[in-house]
Amino acid sequence: MILPRLASPNLAFALVALGVLLLLAGSYYGLFVSPQERYMGDVQRIMYVHVPSAWNALLLFTLAMGCALAYLWRGGWGWDAHHEALLEASAVLSFLLCVQGSIWAKPTWGVWWDWDPRLTTTAVMLLALLGILALRSAVDDPEKRATWSAVATIIAFVDVPIVYFSVRWWNSLHQMQSSPETVSAPFIVPLRLNAFGVLALMGGLALLRARVAARRTAKELGPALPPMPAGAALEA
């Protein structure tokens, strides 16, 4: 089997543990230490998980795009394995983001879904990610799966800002220009803790997930070219 170089599982487990610790600390701070926000009251506390999820969903999608580009330009199954893992992690975060967003929308606007550009873009992004994952599961040949899904990821990634701006224009009547107070220290601390917590947790899980993907691909690719009886075979 040709396994690409991957992070050790111990590093992944350590990252997951670190993420859990940071999330526990950040959530404790956000729920019980931070003061009430002036306008939003306690509902504001949803932001301490929502915003870190949003940052990381975008960050992981960007990294997945980087892996896709790297696979297309440089080749290497490690890039493909991490591409798959990051797509999945980003999809999980996008899903949670949609759920948190609609929980936030209910007390704030009185509806479960507001056609806010960010929330809508997240929903579109989630569907795009699910589409790419479906494409990966529908193609058996490892080379085609890697190339096609890399192309699809790049195309979907370019779409995200376009979707955001088109929804914003479409929905321009709703534009309201105030945000919760998140610049002062009591609000920043839980945001930061949770942001790095989600990053460590999902990053660690993605490293583990990439190992699973790499193993599966290695199995599909089977043994390396059997040695030639005479003459030199030049492995790709």
Partner: protein, 52 residues
């Protein structure tokens, strides 16, 4: 940096209470992370065992 990524809020109009929404959001998020982590661990363990 931070404000650009936050959901917008309608101007005046103060939201009262809402702890149940906060609890729901945290609970669902925690459940999401837990379920996903469990599934990744399970898949990783299975692939590790298949290796042997």
């Amino acid at each position: 940096m931070a404000p650009a990524l936050l959901l917008q809020v309608p101007p005046p109009g103060i939201v009262e209470g809402g702890w149940e929404y906060v609890v729901a959001a945290y609970a669902i998020t925690a459940a999401g992370f837990l379920i996903y982590a469990a599934s990744v661990f399970a898949r990783h363990r299975r692939s590790e065992e298949e290796e042997k």
